[in-house]
Amino acid sequence: MDVKKIVLLFLVIITATFLRFYQLDEIPSGLNIDESSMGYNAYSLSVTGKDRYGEAFPILFRSSGSFQAPIYTYLAVIPVKLFDASVFSVRFVSAISGIVIVLTTFLFVFLGVNRNFQQAALAAFFVAISPWSVLFTRVGTEAAPGLALFSIGALLCILSLKRSMFLIPGMAMLGLATHAYYSERLISIFFLAGFIFIFRKTILSLNYRKTLILGLLLFFIILIPHLMILNTGALTRRLNQVNYWNDQSFNQNSGYLKSYPFGKTVYVVREFSSQYFAYFSPKNLFFEPDPHGERSIPDLSTFYSWMFIPFIFGFITVLKRRSEPFIKILLLTVLIAPIAAALTTDPFHTIRVLVFLWAITLVITLGLSEIFNKLAKKLFKYSLGLILLFISLLSLYISYFVLLNKERGVFDYAYTKVLDKTEEFPDKKFIVDSSRQLGAGIRYAFYKKYNPHELQQKLGANIANNYYSNFEIEESYDLGNIESKAIEWENDIYKDQILIGDNLAISEGQIKEHKLGQVFTISDRSGKVVLWGYLTHPKDKCLSEKEGHLNKKCDKWL
């Protein structure tokens, strides 16, 4: 490889690294519930060797009943140990996964497409700068290492077509990916089955038999932990929460199909088809982002809108070259990757289809290469490339580093600021209404680095031996001077403390009735007030009650 190529590859890696680490702890602001959960569990593991419920080496992390895949949390122990528990250390694993994905993309395309350096570098660069990639490798999400492991597995599988020894680690990586994220549990299995079927003449030949058997054995051994908890309900808990083939969903949404024989079957097939094809919609991919604010960037979809044109050319290229091994693997990935996400009701849920988005990025790369090949003049080619690069990076900077930073307080920046207020009122207890902020408690536990031994005792007591099976336990995070729970109007107003909530938590009527006094407000990043803090006046409240002297809660105050 000559110097120019090394420099080019180095620039791609530098770009990827910069886009992932620049202000990683500040943008997005605050931690979302999953990040807080994984971060605190990693911190708890690093201190005690157990998660926040006191469980050692969990196969899935309970995490308030959502049962997070374990790999991210286990990996996060390393940066938490190195950099202490912080926003940076929680997101570190995602950022590193992002760089790994860029590197494996380069190798995947380079080794898959006849060592075409230009195309491989272009693919790696697109993965480095694509909005979906930047967004989901700058936030702590299990999907990031899930994609990293899957892409390594796919790379090793493509290598195995030339040298059988790569099949074993390839299958191992695919097996590990099933422990990284929900979607990969299905995607890895389908990919492996599809890969063996498509290349059966090679894979099932005598030369490959030994490695195939060893690889499959290793794959299934890695899957054993899933089987150990199969009957507990934890493994399928998330799917049960979001699927559409339950009776309730059928009765609510099937319309006229309710009265037809096999109506439910038709309903499920129709629903699956609509969810599946939504991921292939150019409108969704290139223009209209994921509807959820946490999974999208303002004014930017999963890809830049100009990428629609190379996408079309890439689609045609893939169809014309579908007999090539690399294209077969690419097609297989594109077709199977949205299946897991299509089993859920959430429309165009991008974080569940990172493997699909990665494959689409490769299709776009093929398309752009095709367009560049058709352009004769080098000057025009390079000018066009530079213009597209400038537009893309400018859009990314404006939408992600400016607008997302200012407009999206989705990671509860304001709730995090409550901790600053506890220092202003050190002798007061803070009750933070968590009716619409389920993650407030674990977030505070993380930021305060609350003693894991104490939290294990509080949370673990309710779990006992039902770590994987008891789903409906209410968790309360009483962390000394701050507690996250729903405000109990029968009790909390009779204690001298500060109640904090949004505009729906505490009404004007309640303020007057319960003699609350506003002591502060907290704004989000755009300056809009989103939280109000009210000091209780239990004595005044008791005096205002007609029969306050009969109220036992008023004994202390009257």
């Binding site: 609509s274 919609s281 150019p282 409108k283 004014d299 079309i312 400016v402």
Partner: protein
Amino acid sequence: MKDLKDKINLQLLTLLLTIAVSYWFWRLIFFDLLIAVTLFLLTIFLHRYIFYKSNLKIVILLFVIASVLTLQSGFDTSFKSANKEIKLNERHKYYYEYFGKLYANRIGTYVYNNILPIWNKFEKNAFSPLDLNLYFFNSHPRERAGVEEFKKYSFLFIPFFLLGLVSLITKRTKAILVYLGAAALTSGFIASNYRLGPVLFFPLMNLFIAYGAIIVFSKISMFKYKN
């Protein structure tokens, strides 16, 4: 029977059947007969151009007529809505904070206030028809707020559509892409909530579905014919 088969153009018959069973066509007839007839003819002649490379001028003429008729009734007059203005003004502060004089000059503010909203609206309208779910699932699961979604084709036609798309786009790439581009660009000026839907895509959708059906039926011997 064989003579009859030879006489009947099965491609055309399948295309006519596809049009006839689409809910969309009957909605077009109900609301605007002139557009319906124009699109019907455009579909037929586009089919002739794609398969027999004839009547290109008629295709262009009919496309222009369809575009004019659609723009007359469906032109998007809301290129810069009041809601957007408020947001624009808030973002003005952010851009000034981050870019300073690079943004806060005559060109920068003109582009931001005048060009960008129009471009964004155009993009939204142009991309709106590029959604499979719009045609087969009434935009489900991403139904559009404030838009009367209506059924265009049964979702059972999807396999035919995909087969037709995959076959035609590789065999008649240039023609398909040129038509697709023209339809998307023109649709950029048509409101995405236009009550007749993305009508300029009507001919292409029918062609893909019909061709996919032909591929499937040609596997059945009694329908075998020379393509």
